[in-house]
Symmetry: D5
Subunit: 96 residues, 10 copies
């Protein structure tokens, strides 16, 4: 099942650069592992923002929640979640 | 170049059903032709809404505008457009 | 899987009363059939509003969309959908 | 009488983990006691958010206020309260 | 139990004056009867607006809903409802 | 002249409890003195919020401003002020 | 006593030009009479908008309401009203 | 040329009282000098708020910007600026 | 003096195509004449919207208002106006 | 390709003046270099705000993102990005 997730990241201005870099590196590894598993199907950066738009393909709400809560940047994010359906006009196999 | 487009459709309540059906059929054909050309890369319905989220892959703003303005449902839509970049953590070939 | 749905109904002021009454009667039957099937798990009116809050228990986004789109009052509604998870502190069996 | 309550929790980023964990444990016990008493009738997590949706069944506004103000996480929450009525189309005994 | 209700009235510009006057007269009688019964405890006009702020004293949500839905101007109103408690600093007998 | 005032209080999370308690005690005395003088005509708590709705009966804007600015909790409040008129349908003597 | 009033005018697109012109002429006369009486102390157009900002100097809310309700364009306006006080730093005699 | 400016002031709660008082005193002198020069034509306090509404009469945007940026409280303010025209119905000489 | 203007156009769905085309043709001629005069300095379409962003270079608010009010599409537009200053970091001669 | 970018700057009140001045000086040099290269085509200050409106002319979203992310003030900014097309009514050579 597909979910559209918008993640806005706001790292506190006073977090030491090394701490921030370490969190971001863990985040990257975490994200890439989920991409390899096919759970995190798409990941795009919003131009000019510290924000991304992602498409998740998971079994249910529970799995989505567990994945999002596990994001190393989760405490610094605000999230918007939109359930997606296959569109009756889509001809793409991977749009559902 | 990628653009994230959210389309909300509001067909006037007093439009005759046949007119609406004809417009929707043209819209579907138009959309599928653009999908076949690779310009309209993804198309998802937002659950429970007469709205979709789409990813377009076009040469520039001009091409995007021409495509959107050509939508048979364009007069009944409100549109939100967000430019997308490849995300540095993406490992997907088709995310850019 | 659970979804929280808020439905706001706005029937056009110039719709004949009999038409409105007929739609509402069909809506009621449709809703009660889904309640009997266990799909529409809860249904409450928001005090003082022509609006309700509902909890749906369906297999996936697709089933939710089909049910909502089938509502006789759907053309006159605006809908807000929120996916729900079991809460780790809940002790109720029927909260998931 | 039923009330729909949405609770958004925002724990300060600099609260020590032990303090936060202690508050959350007390919150859980407090919530489960009220569930056992039948006052806190439903409790769901909003997917991907540190937020919940709850249905309270209490005698009056006063009792609701006392319960909410007693929440160990109350100082870190923002709350939205919506009074609910039995819906004329509901066939569920426990929807009022 | 007390409820704070804000009512904004928007009568369609093309409603004949006599129809509007008739509805308003019925509304006035309806409101005054409820004031006499003590259900509609306060009623103020918002300066410069076709809107009022009211305090209702009713047994429960159900009674409030029935009263509001019975307002002759109800189809032309938008309503905001806020449950009120006695304030611990109030010394007025009639503030609860 | 009547004014409807909504006060939302947000005391900083790091204010020592004794300081907060002292301010609240002064606030209570200040409010009750004004109630006794008839200036602060009604005072209700909004259920589940650290907020109140008040009706002031003062000579003019100036007096209202002086009273509000004198509130011990004023630095921690946000305020919304709405001038009120007697409603033509009110039958209550004390609604103006 | 001073009130800041922002008036936004939205005349229906299908009102005949002569009707609109007649209403506007009456509005102008009404406004100028009130200016001569000193009740409508200032009147400015917002650049590029069919909207104005006005300062009224009236005895009380009641008088303000009566004046505003009497505006020939009142049915086509939305109004925002803000009570104003003399500012402690003002040196202008006519700022109160 | 006239500009309508709304200034909302939010002084940090932890600024020492003497610092705040010193800034406010400088602000007052600065404002009064500009009033004497005729640049700051009107200045009113919004009732119950730490905010004002001002009318500036300056040569151009540049002069307005220089004046506002020079306000001692500028770092603690949020500002809304609205260009004003003479209103065709105004009969006041000093409304342009 | 420079003004940033955002124009959103909403032509009623039931306006006959010829009427709309005639208005748009007049609008184009009007706009191009002002561009030739140097008053309408820049004009861009917002991608995917029936909306534009324009920079006007006029003598004062009055001239801006007269130009905007004269737009053939003015009755169907909503407008946002922002005064602009030369930026201290600009090196462009034509940015002021 | 053209992008309209609105930048709002909020430097923390407790940043030492020398630090802020150093960042601003670097920002100015960075901006002027990009103006010389023709990438940052226009730059205006919004009157009365610590904010600017800019027009960028870059090859694609990627180049825009890289430029914006490189702004020395980027961590203190919020950004709004709007893709722009040549307007069919524009007669200016440099509007595309």
């Amino acid at each position: 099942m597909l979910y559209h997730v918008k993640m806005d990241v706001k790292i506190p201005l006073d977090m030491p650069k090394e701490t921030a870099d370490a969190i971001k590196a863990t985040e990257k590894a975490y994200s890439q592992e989920l991409q390899r598993q096919g759970k995190w199907r798409h990941l795009w950066r919003i131009s000019g923002q510290y924000a991304n738009i992602s498409i998740f393909d998971v079994d249910n709400h529970e799995e989505l929640h567990t994945i999002l809560q596990g994001l190393p940047l989760y405490p610094y994010m605000s999230l918007e979640i939109t359930p997606l359906n296959r569109h009756p006009s889509s001809i793409k196999e991977d749009d559902s």
